[in-house]
């Protein structure tokens, strides 16, 4: 590529990440001589690969969805999130209508968003794992049950920071809980305390004297450092000195173990009363908490300086317990040793070094410090999200959501960002030229709607997201509907219904037109005409009428009449006749009454037939080339024996038509109907006779 020739820097350098490269396994014998591409609905791309010995067609879905979530679960989430999303949108629009302000920023707006957030969170996975381990088995330290998903962890993290205004005061404590629930997720890229505990749990049955195992003490300090107090207390009670046969020999040792366990279970926590199930003492107000915390710390310090330690002759127990005290006293080195990664270290800082931390800026600085202390080898997606949130950059958070968790999260989480920030509201809702005139919110909804559109089971909910997009949603919806197949019939009816719902008349008429032509061409003439009438497609109906004339107009035999009479019946009497079809109705009526005349020879029937004839001849939609055959068919009426059936004026009308016909013959493209050669003269004669008799009668 001679990039120099381009000059003026127009060649876009790939500044960001290099494009993702995906292998496309095809199983054909190479080489591939040619490729063909075609987009299906949404972001499903169909590829054809041509090789010497064959070719293959494959479909690639470019949805970038979270691989942790199964397809069925993803669909449940997609369907479940429709109602909360739609409710929030309607609240948003009614609020902004009420306040006449473009921004729905409102003092209690966050409460609506919180409700939305809770409903969405409930879709993402079952209830949180119980923080208390199962008591029945004293050897069960950590519960390994249903694996939580990163998607739910991400959602909760954003809820903590952006939505739940009431718990802002105990934000650090909520992060402690968050890590307790989701530490296991980091195991994929980082070493975690959770995974170490799970491993230790497996070994537990084989360990004879637990307090002699260095891992026991290591894990105690780890669990304590991230505040899993219940686990620590439980593990401490597994200490050998609690066993009845040993209690008497190890009274002092056991007293120390129990003292530490009690201190741990009495650790003050700044959290709401509702979280009382937690181990530790909860304080809702900060001054109470600070007072209690300082008292607790001074007691821990006192224990640390106690002379009993010298008397404790079990070295491992002594060192292990004193290390736990160091953690409680916030010894930086102990915390660093006890934690496995920067997030755990970060949480331990909240618990033991800066329990009064408040303000996102200082939280961000602390995170930076922890990353420096324990630099990660690779960034876990949840860690990336957390850094984005702490960095107070909505764009980064949104980019992380979209890149790492897929379009569903980006489209739904965007609502959380605006819960309390007018700045975010402006950033996300302002239209941008670079995006083709849409806002970031709209962009993410469109992208998500594309994902929905590419699946047969989810495209039906795409319109709900598209109609929430003010600028380009309807355009995309039109393209989506246009690309739906018109068969089978239920799909067609569904499409028409969606068009009706969103007032997309031109699209529905187009879809119906496609259906009409499809039926017509596939030999289902009646269905074809029905749908073309629904589409009010005058030009095609006129052509169909022409074709009908061509096939039925020439002959008046009863056989052919039956053939196309059924056709006319199919058109139905209610549907609005368009163009030439109007003529066919009248023609049918005329033919019917003419048949009755030949059957019963009644004058009434004959008068009716004459009425139909006059209607036909007066009607401008009756093609000229039919005039002569019509008159020829009516000879019997014109020559009616008993009395003249046509009045003077009626006879004159018909004579005028004959005159017009003789003029038309001079024009080019005139086609003669196939009638007997004497047809014209016998009509003239009959009309003249009728005129004479009518004049006499009148």
């Amino acid at each position: 590529m001679p990039s120099d020739a381009v000059g003026n820097g127009a060649l876009v350098p790939f500044s960001g990440d290099p494009p993702a490269l995906y292998p496309l396994h095809h199983g054909l014998a190479p080489p591939i001589s040619r490729l063909a591409i075609s987009w299906s609905r949404g972001n499903s791309l169909r590829l054809s690969l041509f090789a010497g010995a064959g070719a293959k067609v494959v479909e690639v879905k470019l949805d970038g969805e979270d691989p942790e979530i199964s397809d069925a679960h993803r669909r449940r989430i997609a369907y479940g999130s429709v109602a909360p999303f739609a409710l929030l949108q309607s609240r948003r629009s009614s609020l902004s209508a009420l306040s006449r302000s473009p921004s729905p920023y409102h003092s209690d707006w966050w409460e609506h968003v919180l409700q939305y957030s809770k409903e969405i969170a409930s879709l993402l996975g079952g209830p949180k794992l119980s923080p208390t381990p199962i008591i029945k088995d004293p050897n069960t330290i950590v519960k390994t049950g249903e694996e939580p998903t990163s998607l739910k962890a991400a959602w909760e993290l954003m809820e903590i920071f952006y939505v739940d205004k009431e718990s802002q005061a105990w934000l650090p404590e909520r992060l402690v809980d968050w890590l307790a629930d989701y530490d296991c997720l980091f195991t994929s890229t980082l070493e975690t305390i959770h995974s170490k505990l799970v491993d230790f749990q497996k070994e537990l049955v084989n360990i004879q004297v637990i307090e002699e195992d260095p891992k026991y003490w290591e894990l105690l300090s780890s669990a304590l450092s991230v505040g899993w107090l219940d686990i620590v207390v439980k593990m401490l009670r597994l200490h050998g000195s609690y066993q009845l046969d040993q209690l008497s020999n190890r009274e002092l040792e056991n007293g120390l173990v129990e003292a530490v366990a009690i201190f741990i279970s009495k650790m003050p926590r700044l959290c709401p009363e509702s979280a009382a199930a937690k181990v530790g003492e909860c304080f809702e107000s900060k001054p109470d908490f600070i007072k209690a915390w300082e008292k607790w710390r001074s007691q821990v310090t006192k224990l640390d300086c106690s002379p009993f330690w010298i008397q404790c002759d079990n070295q491992r127990t002594r060192e292990g317990l004193r290390n736990l005290l160091q953690i409680m006293l916030g010894n930086t080195e102990s915390l660093s040793l006890a934690t496995c990664n920067w997030i755990e270290l970060y949480i331990s800082h909240f618990l033991f070094i800066r329990p009064f931390t408040i303000g996102i800026e200082s939280m961000h600085n602390l995170a930076q410090k922890c990353i420096q202390l324990k630099p990660p080898s690779s960034t876990h997606r949840l860690a990336g999200l957390m850094i984005g949130i702490l960095g107070e950059s909505t764009e980064v958070v949104l980019a992380e959501c979209s890149r790492e968790f897929g379009p569903w999260l980006a489209a739904h989480a965007i609502e959380l960002f605006t819960a309390g920030s007018e700045q975010a509201e402006i950033l996300l809702h302002d239209d941008r030229y670079n995006l083709g005139g849409i806002s970031i919110v709209e962009l993410h909804r469109l992208v998500y709607a594309q994902v929905l559109s590419s699946h047969a089971l989810t495209w039906q909910i795409a319109p709900i997201y598209l109609t929430s997009c003010m600028k380009q949603g309807m355009g995309l919806l039109e393209n989506l509907l246009y690309r739906q197949s018109v068969q089978p019939n239920d799909v067609l009816l569904k499409n028409i219904e969606i068009c009706r719902l969103y007032e997309l008349d031109h699209i529905s008429s187009n879809i119906i037109k496609i259906a009409g032509v499809h039926h017509w061409k596939h030999g289902r003439k009646g269905a074809g005409v029905f749908w073309l009438q629904q589409a009010q497609d005058a030009s095609r109906l006129d052509r169909i009428a022409q074709q009908l004339f061509d096939s039925v107009g020439k002959s008046i035999s009863h056989e052919s009449f039956k053939q196309w009479e059924g056709m006319i019946e199919l058109l139905g009497s209610e549907s609005k006749p368009a163009g030439g079809l109007d003529f066919l109705y009248k023609y049918r009526d005329f033919k019917k009454s003419l048949q009755q005349v030949s059957g019963r020879k009644s004058a009434d029937a004959a008068r009716q037939a004459v009425g139909s004839l006059i209607l036909l001849m007066k009607n401008s939609s009756t093609p000229q080339r039919f005039w002569l055959p019509l008159l020829y068919d009516s000879l019997k009426l014109l020559n009616w024996q008993d009395c003249p059936l046509l009045s003077v004026s009626e006879t004159n009308l018909l004579l005028n038509k004959l005159q017009e016909l003789s003029l038309a013959k001079l024009r080019p493209h005139h086609t003669e109907p196939s009638l007997p050669p004497d047809a014209l003269s016998s009509i003239r004669l009959a009309l003249a006779t009728n005129l004479g008799r009518a004049i006499l009668d009148e």
């Binding site: 987009w39 479909e59 380009q472 030009s539």
Partner: protein, 325 residues
């Protein structure tokens, strides 16, 4: 990530999906046309519903006729003939594919063909190897047999002095994919030929008042006008105030913005917003997704590449697919 939909016979040279991606037409070296249908729209499994040798010689390209005109395809053959085939049931006969019309001859080959709908009638634009562009109009919306030549012109925008006999290797046509609306029909065409005046991509718009096609924009910088064009693609517009068009030449893949307000000469404002490198050599095909936000391309390097614009309006390659056995 990739799901296999269908295996095709050896000798298959081209495929084309219909508007709803439920029918696939495939063409072969020996002139066999095959049609595969989905059992129902929600399933992706396909079964063969038609297979017949329709021509002596290779099918090089298949294009579906817009569905408003039935189930029909246009096949371009290697010998330059263009034939239309339609699926119809006539006079209580079973449903079958029938040829309705042929165009072109071996001395003046049809290189590309695309259909568009303007003023409620179907138009077919065909590019010929002598550098001519012909626009045909369907006279009866229910019959694909009768076409009238509406216009014939060369792909030049300035009145130029006569040039020698043009020899064109390939051409690429793309209609403005807008549906309905008041906008006049327009399409885009570029050539890969030995005549530089013909090559650059130009936008042609139908002038209703004078019933003629007029060039309204040229998508090439002054120094690039002679560059051979490999492929063009007009993006669907779901609400932008400007059009987006992709043009692939030997210099790379250019993304153009096309404004809607003509100047005093009737020319539309154009701006090249990106020139991207990716495929080395010829670009075979470019396709926009239905939102007009992602462009898929494939070319001589055997790769499929996806291109998008980021939040700052900077176009970049988003992903690439590399076929491996």
């Amino acid at each position: 990530m990739a799901k296999e939909l269908l295996n095709l016979d050896s000798g298959t040279t081209c495929t084309s999906w219909n508007y709803s991606a439920t029918r696939l037409a495939a063409g072969s070296l020996d002139g066999t046309l095959s049609i595969f249908d989905s059992r129902d729209p929600s399933s992706s499994s396909l079964r063969s519903t038609f297979k017949s040798r329709v021509h002596e010689g290779n099918i090089v390209k298949i294009v579906w006729v817009p569905p408003e005109y039935g189930d029909a395809v246009a096949c371009v053959f290697a010998d330059g003939i263009l034939s239309l085939f339609e699926e119809v049931a006539e006079d209580s006969q079973p449903l079958q594919w029938k040829i309705c019309k042929s165009f072109g001859n071996s001395s003046n080959k049809v290189l590309d063909v695309q259909f568009g709908i303007s003023s409620a009638s179907l138009k077919m634009v065909a590019a010929y190897s002598d550098g001519n562009v012909r626009v045909f109009e369907l006279s009866n919306p229910l019959e694909l047999r009768n076409w009238q030549l509406q216009a014939e012109f060369q792909n030049v925008i300035e009145s130029v002095s006569a040039f020698g006999k043009a020899l064109c290797l390939s051409a690429s046509i793309s209609w403005n994919p807008q549906k309905g609306g008041s906008q006049e029909a327009s399409f885009l065409i570029g050539f890969n030929s030995n005549t530089s005046e013909l090559n650059s991509s130009k936008v042609w718009e139908f002038d209703q008042a004078h019933q003629r096609w007029l060039p309204v924009a040229e998508l090439a910088l002054p120094e690039d006008k002679g560059d051979q064009v490999y492929a063009v693609a007009w993006a669907p517009n779901i609400g932008r105030s400007y059009e987006i068009i992709a043009v692939a030449t030997q210099k790379g893949l250019a993304i153009w913005h096309l404004g809607s307000n003509p100047d005093h000469n009737g020319r539309l404002p154009v701006e090249r917003v990106a020139l991207l490198s990716g495929h080395e050599g010829v670009v075979w095909q470019m396709e926009w997704d239905m939102s007009g936000m992602t462009l898929a391309t494939t070319g001589q390097d055997g790769m499929v590449r996806l291109w998008q614009s980021n939040l700052n309006g900077v176009w970049h390659q988003q992903a690439a697919f590399e076929p491996t056995s």
